[in-house]
């Protein structure tokens, strides 16, 4: 799977470069001296002078015209088109929604228009006391006999039906004939985890989540697991491989029936609603009042058992980005965004100014980045500043 993101810092560099091009072209067209202020240290004075000389050189333009004349956009499109059609069959193998959107942090465009003026270097948060580290693979495995085992990067574990190797917990592929025996996985704040169940179903678990599942499934019965709370991404092993046994994800407020599919469920305790997002395949969701079938790209919002399920169309990339190690936000209120960050970095968040809670942000952040880098990038928008004290992030 390939996830492509452009680091924010390089994106900001690029914005500077483009802004500089604008002012440079302005000066050149007006035939003025080279006084365009680049607002950037990405280009040296020497390079600037060289560029300016080129733009005022008739040979440069003649050469450019000649090369452009040799580029046949229409003809080359035909060539490109045949190449991409040829690769179409290969395309199916790619995880369809793996590609991440490349976005900008900021209030739409405004921030970047003003960037050169608002670009202030803020105090380096690393200079301040800070104990916040980014999350990692970890979980507590609750066994059938009540024993609890802590699993993390350093752990090697081999149990009766399962083994934990290189951050993956795998269950032995066996069918059960007797009674169902359950294990639990609890992912703490600042954790994430991957498990492959005995039927081959893969589950990615986000921070602050808990999954209950049988060690082995019983043939001829629906394969039932329970997302007690939190967020999980399921890639369900198709029912045709299990003599038609369907897969069911139970929750307090709803039950979801699957035939072999990929989907994401977000059911955090503090969130007002439970969100189920379907990536591929088909699922049916039932709550007290209604039953709905989801199509790929749709999200079911469950506001609690007194309400009907509401189906909306969404960009699934946003719902599943966490699984691929990125935060992806689009017009996300700062408060909701900080809530997600605090879960992963296991930090507290405190707003000094309530108005800022509703500021909208869009962007891509890498979950592996340390919190300073990430907050510094957010500060570059010029709209917020952060202060870290111990495990607390203050937003000003």
């Amino acid at each position: 799977m390939i996830v492509l993101t452009v680091e924010l810092s390089s994106m900001l560099d690029f914005k500077e470069i483009i802004a500089y091009c604008k002012s440079l072209s302005n000066f050149i067209l007006k035939g003025k001296e080279n006084t365009a202020n680049p607002h950037t240290d990405l280009i040296t004075k020497e390079d600037q002078d060289k560029l300016f000389r080129d733009f005022n050189d008739r040979n440069y333009w003649a050469e450019r015209e000649k090369i452009l004349g040799d580029i046949d956009v229409v003809e080359d499109w035909k060539a490109l088109k045949s190449k991409i059609y040829f690769s179409k069959s290969k395309k199916q193998n790619f995880l369809k929604y793996a590609a991440a959107a490349i976005l900008l942090i900021g209030f739409g465009l405004g921030v970047f228009y003003n960037l050169p003026d608002t670009f202030k270097t803020t105090e380096d948060p690393s200079a301040l006391g800070n104990n916040i580290v980014s999350g990692s693979d970890k979980a507590i495995l609750g066994l059938e006999n009540g024993e609890e085992i802590e699993l993390s990067k350093e752990t090697v574990y081999k149990g009766k039906n399962s083994s934990f190797v290189s951050n993956h917990l795998l269950y032995t592929k066996d069918k059960n004939t007797g009674e169902l025996v359950y294990n639990y996985l609890t992912i703490p704040r600042g954790g994430k985890f991957f498990v492959e169940l005995s039927d081959g179903t893969q589950v990615w678990l986000n921070s602050e989540s808990k999954l209950k599942y049988p060690v082995q499934f019983i043939a001829g019965q629906p394969r039932t697991v329970e997302l007690v709370y939190g967020e999980a991404y399921f890639n369900v092993s198709h029912s045709t491989q299990h003599d038609g046994d369907s897969f069911i994800v139970k929750q307090k407020e709803q039950e979801l029936e699957v035939l072999g599919t990929e989907f994401n469920i977000s059911a955090y305790k503090n969130d007002k609603a439970l969100y189920t997002t379907l990536v591929e395949g088909s699922v049916a969701i039932h709550n007290k009042h209604s039953s709905k079938v989801l199509k790929p790209g749709e999200q079911a919002v469950n506001m609690g058992s007194d309400n009907d399920l509401v189906i909306t169309k969404v960009d699934v990339n946003y719902a599943i980005a966490w699984k691929d190690g990125i935060f992806l936000f689009r017009d996300e209120p700062l408060q909701a965004m900080m809530h997600q960050l605090s879960r992963w970095y296991d930090a507290e968040v405190d707003f000094e100014n309530d108005v800022k809670k509703n500021y909208l942000f869009s962007g891509t952040l890498k979950r592996e980045d340390d919190i300073q880098t990430l907050l510094q990038n957010l500060e570059k928008t010029g709209e917020v500043t952060f202060e870290i004290k111990d495990k607390k992030i203050m937003i000003k």
Partner: protein, 184 residues
């Protein structure tokens, strides 16, 4: 199937907008135009295969310039491997690998494109005068070569600046390009 047609239209839009610039950019690394075209096309194929989303034009540019640079450096590496012992080649390669060169060439291409776009938006006579002036012709030389009076040249230049101002004032063009999401 309609959905995937939509996809290809958006992909084509991206291609049409950036293909010539990216080819020019690649040529600054590879010198050879055909090799540059091949490199840029390969990058576009990758974008299509991986169904990479670009939410707006600058994000697309930032990604594509970087991808084309990496592609070109790969091509050069495979070519240079055998002659790497020569000191001048190593130095040349280090220069091509540097961020400084990367940014300089983006500015070359982007600024030239902006200037051309601005002049092409002008009425014919105005455009002619500005193009000559870009090639460092003096007002007198422009007047002579177009058989105009020097005052006409000056007046036309003024009109041209006025017309181009809004084009150059606005800082960024916002273009929505979403490629994969409609492919359900």
């Amino acid at each position: 199937m309609n959905d995937s047609n939509l996809d290809i239209n958006e992909f084509k839009l991206l291609y049409k907008a950036l293909y010539p610039s990216l080819c020019l950019f690649a040529k600054s690394y590879l010198s050879d135009l055909q090799a540059s075209k091949d490199a840029v096309q390969e990058v576009f194929v990758k974008v299509w295969e991986k169904e990479i989303h670009f939410i707006e034009m600058n994000a697309a540019k930032s990604y594509l310039y970087t991808a084309v640079k990496n592609k070109c450096l790969d091509v050069l590496k495979s070519k240079y491997v055998r002659v790497m012992d020569s000191q001048s080649t190593i130095e040349e390669f280090e220069w091509l690998e540097s961020d400084r060169f990367f940014y300089k060439e983006i500015i070359h291409v982007e600024t030239s494109t902006l200037i051309e776009k601005a002049t092409n938006s002008l009425p014919y006579r105005c455009a002619q005068i500005i193009k000559l002036s870009l090639k460092n012709y003096s007002n007198q030389e422009i007047a002579d070569s177009l058989s105009l009076s020097i005052n006409t040249v000056k007046a036309q230049k003024k009109i041209a600046y006025k017309k181009m101002r809004p084009l150059l004032k606005e800082h960024y063009h916002f273009l929505l390009l979403v490629m994969a999401s409609s492919n359900f």
